[in-house]
């Protein structure tokens, strides 16, 4: 497809739709390309862009529910951040000089106390199927199913039957929690962070009233694992994983992975 080429009059004619993000993609690109090359100031376009950006101020603020804030903070606690980019330099350059390139979030004690996010929508089953495709690769390479693969096949069957699946993610890795029709559930996880000697991943199911252990496991990097939960999901609103050094009845550390259940 040939790219559009605009002159100044074309840009002037379309400046308002450009300011409002109301151009077709090829037109927007042509305007942008013209602005790069043009020596004219196109002052009116700049004024229109500035005015358009003020439009959100016409709306009265609406307070989100307290549950949404809790859900944000819970997800944030278990979500890794991208490495700091140079773009943050500039207005924040001074502070940046004293900040490690990849600062590690501070651990907060008692995180589980407020980890009661509102239930959110289940991820699309197609995403789970994509994750399972990695497992299928293993299945094809092996002549016989080992225990883990049988679990994987079991989970795949649950997904195929329409069982809900929830995205699990955090600083330690990611995967899916899949619930079967009978209420039992398994997690499929991959590329988990290596554990130190003596450490185990401990799974938890949380609702508004309690935190229940759901089993523990170990894993090595580059390993796709399927772990059945030791108890049904039932009324849990959150699945979480912490790293523990001994069997415990309540978590002693912040979650390294989390999933919101329900929706």
């Amino acid at each position: 497809m040939n790219q559009l080429a605009f002159d100044c009059s074309d840009v002037d004619e379309l400046d308002a739709p450009y300011a409002l993000g109301a151009l077709e993609p090829d037109e927007a690109r042509a305007v942008a390309a013209h602005l790069v090359a043009c020596r004219e100031p196109h002052a009116r376009l700049r004024e229109l862009v500035a005015t358009a950006s003020a439009l959100p101020a016409s709306l009265e603020p609406i307070q989100p529910s307290a549950a949404t804030r809790s859900r944000v903070m819970a997800t944030v606690a278990a979500t890794p951040r991208e490495p700091r980019a140079s773009a943050l330099a500039g207005a924040t350059a001074t502070a940046a000089r004293s900040v490690p390139v990849e600062a590690v979030p501070e651990r907060r004690p008692g995180l589980f106390e407020w980890l009661h996010p509102r239930a959110m929508s289940a991820v699309a089953a197609v995403a789970v199927v994509a994750a399972l495709a990695v497992g299928a690769w293993n299945l094809q390479l092996r002549s016989s199913l080992d225990a883990s693969d049988r679990q994987l096949a079991d989970v795949a069957a649950a997904v195929a039957e329409g069982g809900p699946a929830y995205r699990v993610s955090g600083s330690a890795g990611s995967g899916y929690l899949v619930e079967r029709a009978d209420g039992s559930a398994s997690v499929i996880l991959g590329s988990l962070a290596e554990l130190a000697e003596g450490e185990r991943y401990q799974m938890w199911l949380l609702n508004d009233d309690e935190v229940l252990t759901a089993g523990s496991f170990t894993a090595s990097r580059d390993q796709l694992i399927v772990v059945p939960l030791e108890r049904p999901v039932e009324d849990a609103t959150t699945f979480a994983v912490s790293v523990e050094t001994a069997p415990v009845e309540t978590p002693t550390a912040d979650p390294v992975m989390v999933a919101a259940i329900g929706g």
Binding site: E13, L14, D15, A16, P17, Y18, A19, L20, G21, A22, L23, E24, P25, E27, A28, R29, V31, A33, H34, L35, V36, L45, R46, E47, L48, V49, A50, T51, A52, S53, A54, P56, A57, S58, L59, P61, I62, Q63, P64, S65, T68, R69, R71, V72, T75, V76, R81, P83, R84, A85, A87, L88, A91, T92, A95, A96, V99, V104, E106, S121
Partner: protein
């Protein structure tokens, strides 16, 4: 959130951004308290669905946490960045509902730069009511055009089709509306400041081509 929190050196927007970049989730909580209500308003206005808007607000602030390193303070305020992301995602959801592909995520971070510090320019000097009054005084056809473009994500060509006018007329209505708003804001001493436009970073450029190419 009172003005004192915004002027407290420890909780200015710039400082909160710095703190988030170091992994301070409490700072994200403060930023959320400050801007989630406005983000929620934009989400509800576009989606007309409070639950969906709540989900969107959640997703946007988690993304702010994850990708704060992509925020470029020299190009605009954190508030403008957050609201631009929110608007783009809300419009994506509208388009997805119309069988259009989601425009994905990374590019949206650039869209904010078109807005620069304009909001900062009007902040504190302009109430939502004043701007609503200015919009309300627009001729119906201009107000409708602004609504369709900004809050419904329609292109000027689509607006022309919807309203039964030539493309040039639709584009002209959008221009007249923005110019009248600018004049009205100037009258209230809250005129947006002309900004440096970053070419290639217009939201329209981020739309998916209808054939699926980006």
């Amino acid at each position: 959130m009172g003005d004192s929190a915004r002027t407290d050196p420890a909780t200015t927007d710039d400082r909160l951004v710095e703190r988030i970049a170091t992994g301070d989730s409490a700072a994200l909580g403060l930023l959320y308290d400050r801007y989630a209500p406005q983000a929620m308003a934009v989400g509800v206005r576009i989606l007309h669905d409070r639950d969906a808007a709540e989900d969107l607000v959640h997703d946007v602030f988690v993304t702010v946490w994850q990708k704060i390193g992509r925020f470029d303070a020299s190009r605009g305020s954190i508030r403008t960045w957050i609201l631009a992301i929110l608007r783009n995602r809300a419009l994506d959801r509208l388009r997805s509902a119309s069988s259009r592909l989601d425009s994905g995520e990374p590019e949206e971070w650039h869209a904010v730069t078109e807005a620069s510090h304009t909001w900062d320019a009007v902040e504190g000097r302009l109430s939502a009511g004043e701007l609503r009054t200015a919009i309300a005084t627009l001729p119906n056809e201009q107000r409708e055009a602004i609504e369709l473009a900004y809050f419904r994500g329609r292109t000027y060509r689509e607006i022309a089709e919807i309203t039964g006018v030539p493309h040039g007329t639709a584009s002209g209505r959008l221009r007249l509306a923005l110019q009248k708003l600018r004049e009205a804001l100037a009258w209230t001493d809250a005129a947006p400041v002309p900004i440096e436009v970053d070419p290639g970073i217009n939201q329209g450029a981020l739309r998916q081509d209808r054939d699926g190419a980006s």
